[in-house]
Amino acid sequence: MTAPPLLAGERLSRTYRLGAARVQALSEVDIALTRGDFVVVMGPSGSGKTTLINLLGLLDRPDGGRVLMRGEPIGDLDENRRADLRRDRVGFVFQSFSLVPVLSAEENVAYPLGLRGIGDAESRRRARALLDQVGLAGKAGVRPDLLSGGERQRVAIARALINEPEVVLADEPTANLDSGTAGGILDLIRGLNERRGVAFLLATHDPRVVERARRVVTLRDGRIAGAA
């Protein structure tokens, strides 16, 4: 008997209102992530990549279909339970880094541990270890506004991994980075994927990301146009 996927979407649909019009952002999309996956979701702007990440990451609720974690549907969970699942099982990397500006790099990374009630000293120890892994050992006490774009994204990646999630969802993680830095970030992500077995799903239209993918899903107009 095979284990259920870590994270799966079944016939996911999402419609948004845009003034009087209704826009079908995602239409009956099926996707599943298993341990060690490195999936890239490709597609032009407006194809539904971010919507798919939002639904799989429990940031939004689908109009149709369902999201399953380890085979368990999670559609009926309340906001607190969904927040707990995001905290414990999903890591996020955003295009614009989304670091908390009043916290240092170390404090940003440690933040999700605090949500789980882990003590300050232990949180800081683990955060420093992760910063070391992403090559930012000397920047622990630096606030985000004094870090470069690449460094900020490394901090965001460390933060996404601090609670040892099963899945990391990354929305355009290289979009705001120059090509050299983007390559470094992708190598880092891929390395973490291979070493830790964490499943990654990256939404992008950056061909350099596609080159590193094990699986590519192409979205067009909210539907899966191809998978390879």
Binding site: N54, G57, L59, D60, E79, N80, A83, D84, L85, R86, R87, D88, F92, F94, S96, S98, L99, V100, P101, V102, L103, E107, A110, Y111, P112, G114, L115, D120, R159, N163
Partner: protein, 414 residues
């Protein structure tokens, strides 16, 4: 990251805005603390003035006397006053017992008569605990219980053209209804703060009043002064029990009643109600101003942090925890504002108390008083509670917004 630490960092994020917000709290807190101190000082002065102007802390009288005689032809009097006085004096909390014999009479200089509100009293006892004997405008206080002398309100003396050393005749109706008159010497003039009283006031020795009214040792009231004004209500049943069994002549039930100073001081109660009303209204206006100013500022700050709220929520922060973060920021601003407000209040209070400013006399009074603002801990506590509640309410708006916000919309907020 612990909520309070993050809240503190957020408060320090935009210092100018936080200072502005805390500044509003400073003004609100100082307003409440200073107004409360002024009110407390005024009420304390009025209370002590009321008690020391003759009211005492407790008064004992024959049943019905406090209600104007309860239909009796003459005011009921306390019989065997000396025994009751002795019983009252035996209580350790009692500082002084003052027998009083009240009467309404006429004072005449031979050519003109003026109605008076007279009181026969124990001059030595009154001099020990009351203010009147210490604040005479002219002459001296009465010497002993049997002196054939009177002290007049300055207004009363003026209306009759009487001065210290002059003779006058006092007329009154005796206990059995006949008219009696006694000659007395004016030995002192009292300057009373209330004009209506100043125009009618007459103090006589208890012996003179007793002879005039032919009451033979009976008195209208026994005024008791305690060590502490707060003990009046508690002392009443104890003292009534101590004097139980004393006979009362003329009283309908043969019993003695007691009233506390607060029950008797209608003017004090009215002023206190008025002050509380004014203070409450002013406090409400201050709170409303602080609420509007800080709620707007905090909502603006929260709007600027919309994406950050989305990030915190996405990372797994529960909606309630994000709401609590804003509440914590409000509470920190309130505490910082209150600490600064307390310091400001103390400085302003010091300056006002050394300014020598004189307040105009209140309605019906003849003397103003020097401005003094008391340190009133309850007003500081009220200010702290009011500002904490106001800032918590002000931060409730952004907290509610953050709690209900869609994460996706927050993350894409521009």
């Amino acid at each position: 990251m612990r909520t309070w630490r993050l809240a503190w960092r957020n408060v320090g994020r935009n210092r100018r805005r936080s200072l502005l917000c805390a500044g509003v709290v400073v003004v609100g807190f100082a307003g409440i603390a200073l107004a409360g101190g002024f009110m407390a000082q005024s009420l304390e002065g009025l209370r002590e003035g009321t008690i020391r102007s003759g009211m005492g802390h407790l008064q004992f009288a024959a049943r019905g006397a406090f209600d104007g005689g309860a239909g009796a032809a003459a005011e009921p009097l306390i019989d065997d006053a000396a025994a009751i006085e002795a019983a009252l004096r035996s209580d350790p909390e009692v500082v002084e017992v003052l027998p009083r014999l009240d009467f309404v009479g006429l004072l005449t200089n031979g050519a003109r008569s003026v109605p008076t509100l007279g009181t026969g009293l124990d001059p030595a006892g009154e001099a020990r605990v009351m203010d009147q004997p210490k604040s005479l405008a002219a002459g001296r206080w009465l010497a002993d219980r049997d002196e054939r002398a009177v002290v007049l309100g300055a207004g009363l003396a003026k209306s009759l053209g009487l001065e210290v050393g002059d003779g006058a005749t006092l007329l009154a109706t005796t206990a059995d209804g006949t008219l009696n008159a006694i000659d007395a010497t004016v030995v002192g003039l009292a300057d009373l703060p209330i004009k209506e009283l100043d125009d009618r006031y007459l103090a006589a020795s208890l012996g003179l009043a007793s002879d005039l009214l032919m009451t033979e040792g009976r008195v209208s009231r026994l005024v008791v002064v305690l060590r502490d004004h707060r003990d009046a209500a508690a002392a009443r049943p104890r003292l009534l029990a101590a004097i139980g069994g004393a006979a009362v002549a003329g009283g309908p039930g043969g019993a003695i009643e007691a009233r506390t100073w607060e029950e008797l001081a209608q003017f004090y109660r009215q002023v206190r109600t008025l002050y509380l009303g004014i203070f409450g209204f002013m406090g409400a206006v201050l709170v409303a101003v602080v609420l509007l100013a800080t709620a707007n500022t905090m909502l603006m700050a929260a709007t600027e942090r919309t994406r950050e709220i989305g990030t915190l929520r996405a990372l797994g922060t529960r909606p309630g925890a994000v709401g609590r973060l804003f509440l914590a920021e409000g509470v920190l601003l309130a505490i910082a504002g209150c600490v600064a407000g307390a310091a400001l209040s103390l400085v302003v209070r010091l300056a006002l108390n050394h300014s020598g400013l004189t307040l105009p006399p209140p309605p019906g009074a003849t003397h103003g008083s020097t401005l003094f603002v008391k340190f009133y801990g309850a007003a500081y506590a009220a200010g702290l509670v009011a500002m904490l509640a106001t800032l918590a309410l002000a931060s409730w708006f952004p907290a509610r917004r953050a709690t209900r916000m869609s994460i996706v919309e927050a993350l894409t907020h521009v």
